[in-house]
Symmetry: C2
Subunit: 374 residues, 2 copies
DNA sequence: TGCGGAGTTGAGAGCGCTCTCCTCACCCAA
DNA sequence: TTGGGTGAGGAGAGCGCTCTCAACTCCGCA
């Protein structure tokens, strides 16, 4: 029976090009499957001569080596890390901050010899199947809304997970920065310069599209931790100097692009031409705001102060006043945390440092606008 | 026996947190595995009521749904595409052209609901294991040297493969551009402007590091098709107007960075200060050459003409005269070719268009340098 | 001649799943 | 009553591999 089966397989492998298997190879050689397996995985477990014969026969039969999927099933490890992004996969390659994160993560994967599987998770469709289908040993989740079904699907999988910029997920390792403190530094800087009439441009706050002004309630209920924290910190910091947050216009953009930053800034300036500063929660949006200012003939920083967040190269080049966060380091830390499978008792947290970068886009408001106070 | 086994599994799933399996779920419910499987994969195959019970019990037992690896083994599809790069994985995120390619490829993957697995293939180590370990339904190979062991390992795998910028691989689908014609356009442009004393900066030609001048033989034997083709086309095109290629200095750089472009240009200018033009085989190198020219106080294009290749955003911003190639389209085409598993008889080839971009970095050489001829 | 041990090889048991037949009711037309 | 159509669910057979543990071979040494 066994011989029949192998014979059958053999025949097919010869004729109909059905790929040879470890078993058919073993049959051909007259050795056990174990021996063939060892030839690939534990060369020290068999004589060099036999190993040579095995590998040579493999070449002859076109046996491509042990099937990775079958091996994964048996060994219970896939040799890859899954990455879940909130956006369309392709988007990640368009945002320099995300690219930096990817670079760091891939660095960590490389160190560990692990593959990096980009999981297609379309935020529009609630198609979680891709998460279920992913053959990975762990997940890194990069800045998704806390109510994202993909995130939920990941957490259901019985594999370790690291989330980024998501302190609100329970019992999972996390990597991030102190978003509150980071943007508070920007706020304090602007306050010192004398700004009180500010506007804010922020990224998507939830899964539904809302391109326009944002109520305080929506700010508080934002599903993206990062944005929520930054807005809250701005509210607190400006609140300390008597700025009523409810009066501060905040414009949201679903898409994250320079042109969105421009239109958002335009929306702010249309409503309130007397703004002295626009705070953006990302450099991409900040660059857009700069463009819009230029388009309107506003001089930056004399007529308008603009700030960003992230510290991407393009922002540096533009002289944008911003907060630099170590995006590459963030990716790397996430990867390492995931792959360092010390059986940690409690969830670990890595908080990375940020740095206020004083560029050339922030200055004291024109004296007519300036606020004189205690 | 069967019951015992299931019982055992169940017990562990309850106590030691061993994840439940489809079989243990079936045992718990008193139905067959098939039914549970159907509950997930073919809802129409069982009554809604039973399905509800199954899913509810699954939730109760913490069953995360069918194991993706086991499913892959059985269905013989992994739901992912592997990407092999010549460089360290992380490098791919630093080269805008590669990022564009990745964006396109991920776009195609997304369309098809496939994952994208970045395979860690360190070019230094000859560690092919990662290729063998990759659980994927196909491979995309992006610009690796034709003697790369990783490429060989991919070709041994019994899965479809698409190579990019690699016309020399047999019986495999390919995507690329007409490198000869593309760079010949640059050459003709420079020839028309009057350049005859030119130098070339090219990327890595083989797997061994050779940062410096390149012999004609090494050019001919280059293992990177793209570089080989471009150099050959330059030789031919300039040869047609009487330039002896053997006299044209060509400098190679192993690493692909702006600073490498700068030092390479420096090497050329040190050896031959009378060069009127430096042709670079990539924009990144071209940007470096621009920097070096600036550093030396050479005006571009009055004192020195510089050209690039790729058409990345940064080059456009710098006004670099270059060739635009549709990198995103290339990635997308590669993905589509791979995923469109029409059982094509012969290997298919997609050749994408390129376009000469006239920037501000190329002009006629100063009259003293100019070549007057027939 | 016998025996412990080192070095090799093999048998059997799954890893967790899906797929292809089957079976078994059940029901309605003839 | 009977034949067979229909829909729900099950049995059995692997997918291709690795791992544990036992067995076998050969050698030197007593």
């Amino acid at each position: 029976m066994v011989l029949n089966r192998y014979g059958h397989v053999m025949a097919r492998s010869m004729n109909t090009r059905r790929p040879a298997t470890l078993a058919s190879l073993a049959a051909e050689l007259g050795v056990s499957r174990t021996t063939v397996s060892n030839a690939y995985n534990r060369p020290d477990q068999l004589s060099p001569e036999l190993r040579r014969r095995v590998l040579e026969t493999a070449r002859r039969l076109g046996y491509p080596g042990p099937d990775p999927v079958a091996r994964s099933l048996r060994t219970r490890k896939a040799g890859a890390v899954g990455l879940l992004l909130t956006e369309n996969l392709s988007y990640a390659f368009r945002d320099p901050a995300a690219v930096g994160f990817l670079e760091g993560l891939s660095l960590a994967c490389e160190e560990a010899g692990q593959g990096l599987l980009l999981v297609p998770a379309n935020p529009e469709r609630e198609d979680v199947a891709a998460v279920h289908r992913a053959g990975v040993d762990g997940f890194v989740v990069y800045s998704v809304p806390d109510d994202d079904p993909h995130l939920a699907a990941v957490l259901e999988r019985p594999v370790p997970t690291v989330v980024c910029d998501q302190p609100d997920v329970d019992s999972v390792d996390r990597v991030g920065i102190d978003d509150r403190e980071a943007i508070a530094a920007v706020a304090r800087h602007l306050i010192e310069l004398g700004h009180r009439r500010i506007g804010v441009v922020c990224m998507r706050l939830a899964r539904d599209r809302n391109d326009g002004f944002v109520s305080v309630q929506r700010q508080r209920e934002a599903h993206f931790h990062v944005q929520r924290a930054r807005l809250a910190a701005l509210a607190d910091t400006f609140g300390e100097v008597g700025v009523q947050w409810a009066d501060v216009p905040v414009v949201e953009r679903f898409d994250h692009s320079i042109s969105c930053g421009a239109t958002a800034a335009g929306q702010l300036l249309d409503r309130d031409p007397d703004l002295t500063a626009i705070i953006c929660t990302s450099d991409i949006l900040g660059l857009g705001a700069l463009n819009e200012a230029r388009r309107r003939g506003l001089r930056v920083p004399q007529d308008l102060t603009v700030t960003g967040f992230d510290g991407i190269t393009e922002a540096e080049r533009a002289g944008l006043t911003t907060v630099r966060q170590p995006v590459l380091e963030k990716g790397r830390a996430a990867g390492r945390l995931l792959m360092d499978n010390a059986d940690h008792g409690r969830p670990r947290t890595v908080t990375l440092d940020t740095e206020l970068v004083i560029g050339t886009t922030a200055a004291a408001p024109k004296s007519s606008d300036q606020w004189y106070g205690p």
